[in-house]
């Protein structure tokens, strides 16, 4: 089902996620780039187009000073949580347009500890919003999760099941940050951050980098033993009625979401159905987000998550494996790298060489989903023959 305009991922590299206080974001990025090039058995001078993204950790295009001053076009993108997705989309578009033969994508960040601080003015809000203590991302995730659980009769234990799964998967993944399994009871009893979410139900900002090498599908087979086709990538911003972070008001009775739109577009472009997906990475900024996004992406119906989680269907060996590398919960969230980490994991799963738990049976269709402020989402469908 490869089309002439298809783009394939022929190399992937990652710097382990975690706390890397002695290293800059650019240091991490260089490690990931060299790993991706080695994976594709290519040299930096072979690359004729590059796209890099970081939210707060330096100018990606300065990497040419470390990798080689070849004069290639190097696009820098900065698009919040969708940074990695936008970088990947930009590179894919250049390949499809015939502007390049081999493109490199890199995303990285090295964040300070603690929750992200945000400026009201940067979001078009008055200072009162932050001054009165409502401009806190964790509040948003908690209130969105609480309302969703209420509307669809999902138990708070499901939140703990998501986290327990993430830490189990993270424990098996050498690139993950939190690698200690936790029991559901420990997670439920942990210190509250924003109820119903406890400290083990949130991911934290940290450090990491991911790089991918892309080629047009016509060349991919020469470069890689098992190239993975980027069957689609779709990016959407929010429409009226979506419930987003930093919202002083919401519209009653309307439901929309950039995730619903981006996922639907990604499936349509790829010509596959959500039911075809055999492994998926979903944005799990908190455990409630994974539950909500399971339905918003079309992978299950609203309310079905309770049974899916309780029955183990979303475990690596289940019928719908979700966040097999531990997701954001176990990997943390270096914003510029996070979306590309999902792609890295699905590429490895489809190639049958996952660093951690490998989904059995040779999965052929994978899906990734990033989502973030202020209401943006990017989804990909990845396939192998």
């Amino acid at each position: 089902m490869t089309r002439p305009t298809d783009v394939a991922i022929v190399g992937a590299g990652i710097h382990a996620f975690g706390r890397h206080d002695g290293l800059s974001g650019l240091d991490l990025a260089e490690v990931a780039v060299r790993a991706a090039l080695a994976d594709a058995d290519l040299h930096w001078s072979d690359i004729d187009y590059a796209v890099g993204g970081s939210n707060v950790s330096g100018k990606p295009d300065t990497l040419v000073g470390r990798l080689g001053l070849t004069g290639l076009p190097f696009i820098t993108v900065r698009n919040g949580c969708a940074t990695g997705g936008v970088a990947l989309m930009t590179a894919a578009q250049a390949l499809r347009a015939g502007e390049a033969e081999l493109a490199l994508v890199v995303g990285f960040d090295n964040h300070q500890r603690g929750a992200f601080a945000a400026s009201p003015a940067g979001y078009g809000l008055g200072d009162w919003y932050g001054e009165s203590g409502m401009m806190v991302t964790t509040q948003y995730f908690a209130m969105k999760a609480r309302r969703y659980l209420h509307d669809h009769q999902i138990s708070e234990r499901s939140l703990a099941r998501v986290s327990a799964k993430a830490f189990r998967n993270g424990a098996a993944n050498p690139y993950a940050w939190r690698r200690k399994p936790l029991e559901e009871e420990e997670i439920l009893a942990a210190a509250p951050v924003s109820p119903p979410l406890s400290q083990y139900m949130f991911c934290s900002p940290n450090a990491g980098a991911v790089a991918l090498v892309l080629a047009r599908s016509s060349r991919a087979a020469d470069l890689c033993q098992k190239p993975v086709t980027l069957a689609s990538i779709a990016l959407r911003s929010r429409r009226f009625g979506s419930f987003e972070v930093f919202s002083p008001w919401l519209a009653p009775g309307v439901r929309s979401s950039p995730t619903i739109d981006a996922a639907a577009a990604a499936f349509e472009i790829a010509g596959v159905s959500p039911a075809d997906v055999q492994v998926a990475q979903l944005q799990d900024t908190d455990s409630g987000a994974e539950i909500i996004h399971l339905a918003e992406t079309g992978l299950c119906a609203d309310g079905e998550q309770e049974e899916l989680l309780a029955s183990g269907a979303t475990e690596p060996g289940g019928r719908l494996p979700i966040n097999t590398d531990g997701g954001c919960l176990a990997n943390g969230e270096p914003i510029g790298a996070s979306g590309l980490r999902q792609v890295h994991e699905v590429v490895r799963q489809l190639q049958g060489r996952a660093p951690g738990h490998q989904v059995p049976g040779g999965p052929r269709v994978g899906f990734t989903h990033v989502y973030g402020a202020p209401g943006i989402s990017a989804c990909t469908v990845l396939t192998v023959p």
Partner: protein, 249 residues
């Protein structure tokens, strides 16, 4: 639902109050009657004084039950642009956080009588939103254009003071800057929520004795909440919602 107190009749006269106004004293807008009671609400749970404030029956506008925000002896609202108020007085010891959050009936230029209590506010706050003249979309705070249809015909709308709890959480750690409430060892976890006012769902601090009693769907009513006391000794006030049915005071 209790938000039925809101109704188009709450629509405020069309005078546009500059949403970016930073001065606490403002033009008059309105005569809407969304709060039947004149009872004073103490704006600050931490203040011992609970004396009745200056919402005296002698105020002419009280005849139509208007909200009166009299930031008296030592209180001010966090952002007056959020509120619809009859009088927005910032006297010696009080100010609103952002005038654009409020709507004001009459300018108070000097001669403001301080209330008998440090932090009393005459009436519960009435938030100032906007309604799109083209598609009816209601937003908060006031903004110049409609996020749904892109139209620029927005009229001011006094939002109902009663609603139901739509969702909630508790903030268990002190937020980073620009948060101005107590931090460090003075920090106390506080509840926040979304309150369904019928035509719009508004995010708000919540004031409740025991967060374990919070339930989605519970009736809430608007009140004042002190966020901090500024360098001049003024209590800085914002809106909050607290348990209560429409008609209670």
């Amino acid at each position: 639902m209790s938000a039925s107190a809101s109704t188009p009749s709450n629509t405020v006269g069309n005078t546009h109050l500059n949403a970016s106004a930073s001065t606490p004293s403002n033009t008059v807008v309105n005569a809407s009657a969304s709060t039947p009671s004149n009872t004073v609400v103490n704006a600050s749970a931490s203040t011992p004084s609970n004396t009745v404030g200056s919402a005296s029956a002698s105020t002419p506008s009280n005849a139509v039950g208007n909200t009166r925000l009299n930031a008296s002896a030592n209180g001010r609202v966090l952002d007056s642009a959020l509120f619809h108020v009859e009088h927005l007085n910032a006297s010696a010891n009080a100010r609103v956080l952002d005038p654009a959050l409020f709507q004001v009936e009459a300018p108070q230029t000097g001669g403001v009588e301080p209330g008998p209590s440090a932090t009393d506010i005459g009436q519960p706050p009435v938030l100032l939103g906007a309604r799109c003249e083209q598609d009816g979309t209601v937003v908060f705070p006031y903004q110049e254009s409609c996020p749904r249809c892109s139209g620029r015909e927005m009229s001011e709308l006094a939002l109902p003071g009663h609603g139901t709890l739509w969702s909630w959480t508790v903030q268990h750690f002190a937020p980073k800057s620009p948060y101005r409430g107590p931090t460090g060892t003075d920090f106390v976890p506080y509840p926040v929520g979304y309150v369904d006012l019928g035509e719009v769902i508004v995010e708000s601090r919540l004031q409740i004795e025991d967060v374990a009693t919070l339930r989605i769907g519970m009736p809430l009513t608007a009140t004042w909440l002190r966020i901090w006391t500024d360098a001049e000794g003024l209590d800085v006030l914002t809106y909050a919602f607290t348990p209560g049915e429409a008609g209670e005071s």
